[in-house]
Amino acid sequence: MNRLQGVLAAGGFAVTAEIGPPKGADPTRLRRYAERLRECTDAQNLTDNQTAIVRLSSLAACVHVLAAGGEPVLQVTCRDRNRIAIQSDLLGAYSLGVQNVLCLSGDHQSFGNHPTAKNVYDIDSIQLLGMVRRMRDEGCFLCGEEMKAPPRFFIGAAANPFADPLEFRAKRLAKKIAAGADFIQTQAVFDLERFRTWMAMVRDIGLDEQTAILAGVIPPKSARALRFMAQVPGMAVPKELLRRMESASDQQEEGKRICSELMEELRSVPGVRGLHIMAVMWEDVVPELVERAGLLPRPWQAASFSGRETG
């Protein structure tokens, strides 16, 4: 059992963080982030050409994280690869020691730096979840053909409580769980009220007991960054938070404070089993946030932890 799965299986409160791979072939910063995050988080997500901007591949980034002693979560989107390429990459990733995967639809290519690209969407994120689970549990490819040495991934999915229609969001989560999601990482929470409403809907149908929900947070580095996030489709940022950041004399410190407060609130929401910190372009801040939250040391660092360490 890996760290993330081990912490959750033991009933612990999980902490994961996101690392954005570089827009170039130099892995130095990536490795440095991995070294900084490996002690304070249970697993590190490597994004898959996030916002459709070309970056070093998630799979290669996972291997760098492994080499740095971390525990990668391979993010896989359906935008750029069909069922053949995805299954192939999953086998390759597992063969290299990657044990966690996050299944996503992917941001549309019109957001990125190649808006004239053709998209794939051979399968969608729910079908992807089912495919990874089938590979693991039934030992066969999507086509039904058996494979030797199936990859035994710990399978994750995303959920966005801030997207519409709200009434369908818990049902969509139910579909993801039914398809195979062992854990969930949510879109970054700024609007606590909406998150609590969604979690109540999730608890009403018992989904919090069928999967491990990790609430997402983003520490805003500046008022400008927060304003940008407020415009991103699928994000919800309350106006009072924007005003608070704009009027702060030290915006970075205020951003950390806002994030810490959100983390504290989210921990007390029933059904939340962990936090996922997406410190976009600010990965260095993660250790401090985790420490401020009193979430150190991580459970797997204790000698008595039964999980098998990776890396």
């Binding site: 359906c78 935008r79 069922r83 639809s105 992917g106 941001d107 549309h108 019109s110 957001f111 998209n119 969407y121 051979d122 399968i123 969608d124 994120s125 729910i126 079908q127 089912g130 495919m131 999507l142 995303a158 959920a159 966005n160 801030f162 997207a163 519409d164 229609p165 369908f168 049902k171 969509r172 139910a174 579909k175 039914a178 398809a179 879109q187 489709p233 699928g234």
Partner: protein, 225 residues
């Protein structure tokens, strides 16, 4: 119907730059309805091309003689046959039909250079005067029974089959506030119809072999062939 729109004039002028005499052919089917390649558009383009060449605005100076015709249907041999004499006397045929018509014309007159004047856009419908919108991706395996007659393969930018992605907000798609989220539309319609349970089912991976991905598609009716 097939919806098309006219290529930019500069591009069409480039396509006919070596020609002194062309046959400009419209079609009375879909492209007439979407105001791209009917009799009126043929007359209009004919005039514009002749003027542009006469005024020296084209890459190649010199007059262009334009013969025009609009046939009932360019994707049918029967309606192309009467054009044979005119085709024999021009340097180039410019088709104002959809991509099907252009190809049919090129195949029917294999010794004549045939170029398109339109960009074929999609299979769609008239939404209101002057607005046409895509409705069908011709995937060969209709899923509309699941979604209350709203096609997610065509109308969702990611062709998702299991509900809206995380970018659906306030009824619109993540790619533009001008584009409605197909899954919000599906949700609203199914709720009205009392059939929301339909989108709670997991839809399995699609068989794309009946779509373009499976290679050239043919439809055969042996009873009439």
């Amino acid at each position: 119907m097939i919806v098309a729109d006219r290529k930019p004039l500069a591009e069409i002028l480039t396509l006919v730059r070596h020609a002194g005499r062309i046959l400009l052919v419209g079609c009375q089917e879909c492209v007439t309805v979407c105001l791209a390649g009917g009799e009126r558009e043929v007359a209009e383009l004919s005039l514009i091309l002749r003027l542009a060449r006469a005024q020296g605005r084209a890459q190649v100076d010199g007059p262009l003689e334009v013969i025009t015709a609009t046939v009932h249907r360019q994707c049918d041999d029967e309606f192309l046959a009467p054009l044979a004499d005119q085709v024999a006397n021009v340097d180039c045929v410019v088709s104002m039909s959809c991509g099907v018509g252009v190809q049919h014309m090129a195949a029917y007159f294999p010794h004549t250079w045939v170029v398109p004047a339109l960009n074929t856009r999609f299979a769609g419908a008239t939404i209101k005067q002057g607005l046409w919108e895509e409705r069908c991706s011709l995937c060969g395996d209709c899923q509309l029974y699941r979604t209350g007659g709203i096609c997610p393969i065509t109308r969702c930018a990611k062709s998702l089959l299991n509900g809206p992605c995380g970018g659906s907000q306030e009824g619109h798609c993540e790619i533009s506030a001008d584009i409605p989220c197909a899954w919000q539309q599906i949700y609203d319609h199914l709720r009205t119809m009392g059939k929301l349970e339909l989108i709670e089912e997991i839809v399995c991976v699609k068989d794309w072999s009946r779509a373009r991905d499976g290679g050239l598609r043919r439809s055969v009716r042996e009873d009439v062939s």
